[in-house]
């Protein structure tokens, strides 16, 4: 069986991470599973974890009164779910629901934050990687604001 740090390193966001950092990350991690339809977290709840998806699809949902939940983003194998643990007030902004059965590594955010505070080099390295992914997400979201498919094109 592979060690947890090897599993962590499989995620693109942690590719080529220094072995000692991977070990620190693994020290805050555990493997988890969810059934299809199960909730990973809910809007407003304390955010103290993020998930590195190993298998399955997660839907991030926003509950709109009158319309019910709408899915604003999905995450698949290799992707990270959950950013709210990074910054105060450390509460979730969306619901996360398993669309399919999920296998994931759950990383304890409180644990990681403490390690980062104690080792700014680790903190910088992780923040650099998280920022890069967050920027990609932000770009993708902004592209969708342009109404990619709806505007022009009459054929």
């Amino acid at each position: 069986m592979r060690t947890l740090d090897a599993v962590v390193l499989e995620a693109p966001i942690f590719a080529d991470l220094d072995a000692q950092y991977a070990e620190q990350l693994a020290g805050c991690s555990r493997t988890v599973g969810f059934e299809a339809g199960e909730t990973l977290f809910r809007e407003g709840d304390p955010a103290d974890v993020f998930y590195v998806l190993r298998r399955g699809r997660v839907a991030l949902e926003l509950f709109v009164p009158g319309r019910g939940p709408i899915t604003i983003e999905t995450a698949d194998e290799g992707e990270v779910v959950g950013w709210s643990w990074l910054f105060p007030p450390h509460t979730w902004h969306f619901d996360a629901r398993a669309v399919t059965p999920i296998r994931a590594v759950a990383v304890n955010g409180v644990c990681i934050r403490e390690k980062c505070d104690g080792d700014p080099a680790l903190g910088y390295e992780l923040m650099r990687r998280f920022s890069s992914v967050l920027l990609d997400r932000l770009n993708a979201t902004q592209v969708r604001l342009a109404d990619l498919y709806g505007g022009s094109h009459g054929r």
């Binding site: 839907a59 669309v99 990619l148 094109h153």
Partner: protein
């Protein structure tokens, strides 16, 4: 990708009367018409080509071929966005429309022989790609992996949903994504470019066929290039104002090309530079 011999000289400006055989609704504002010649043989458009469709007394618009019906009849999928398209979408069985064409370049299905093919569509952009999907499946064994990446605003905006499963069974890896999902939506939510990252293809030899609104094309091409597909194996279908379809009216210029005559299907190394210039 050279087109077949076109209509005769004198007829290229003259519409042929076609009869509407069938009309079906695709989405809230989009309809598919199946039309057949009133008399005389049907034209024979190739995947990627378009025809000029007339609503008599109202006007004429360029519409890509979106399929073929029984007896060689033509299938066109039309979004109701203006006076002429509204009139075309309103026609019923037995009504007459005018057809000129076929015009323009084809999807490079021969150039892609032996290679993986990525078909990337946004919104209504699947319509001009459907004949390519069908042609690829007709010669399934002549190609490598066949991948369809299709994005739309919502699940209700997806075209040809009942056919997607059939394409899957016939050998297409079909990946769908929408901008906003519902709890029952099993596929992805996010931009279509994100599907490129997780698609499995050989970046060295794969050929990509892209159609959708121009902004979608831009972001999708960026994702394709980032994932190793070179400019000369990346093809897009462009839309410009077309009045004549035969390179004579000047409306569809994009820098050095006339989209109706030199396109609508272009390779990215041919057109990318010009598409990057704003308001060209």
């Amino acid at each position: 990708m050279a087109a077949e011999a076109g209509p005769s000289i004198s007829r290229s400006a003259l519409p042929e009367p076609y009869v509407v055989r069938r009309r079906s609704r695709e989405t809230a504002d989009t309809w598919t018409l199946e039309i057949a010649p009133h008399d005389g043989p049907p034209i024979d458009p190739k995947p990627g080509q378009f025809a000029m469709l007339s609503a008599f007394g109202v006007g004429e618009v360029p519409i890509s071929l979106s399929g073929r019906g029984r007896g060689g009849s033509l299938v066109h999928t039309i979004r109701d966005v203006g006076e002429v398209t509204a009139e075309l979408c309103r026609t019923g069985r037995g009504d007459m429309v005018g057809v000129r064409g076929p015009f323009g370049t084809e999807w490079p299905l021969d150039a892609a022989l032996g290679a993986d093919v990525l078909v990337v569509a946004g919104g209504l952009g699947l319509a001009p790609l459907r004949p390519a999907v069908e042609a690829l499946l007709e010669r399934r064994d002549s190609y490598g992996r066949l991948i369809l990446l299709y994005g739309a605003r919502t699940p209700d905006d997806l075209l040809f949903r009942e056919e997607l499963d059939g394409w899957r069974e016939a050998g297409f890896d079909v990946q769908l994504t929408v901008d906003a999902g519902t709890p029952s939506w099993p596929d992805r939510v996010g931009v279509v470019g994100k599907l490129v990252e997780s698609a499995e293809f050989d970046p060295v030899s794969a050929v990509a066929l892209v159609c959708g609104p121009e902004v979608m094309i831009r972001f999708t091409v960026a994702a394709l290039v980032e994932n190793g597909i070179s400019d000369d194996r990346l093809y897009v279908s462009l839309e410009r104002n077309m009045k004549c379809g035969i390179g004579h009216c000047g409306h569809c210029q994009l820098g050095p090309v006339l989209v109706c005559r030199d396109g609508p299907v272009f390779s990215w190394d041919q057109i990318g530079r010009w598409l990057a210039v704003r308001e060209l």
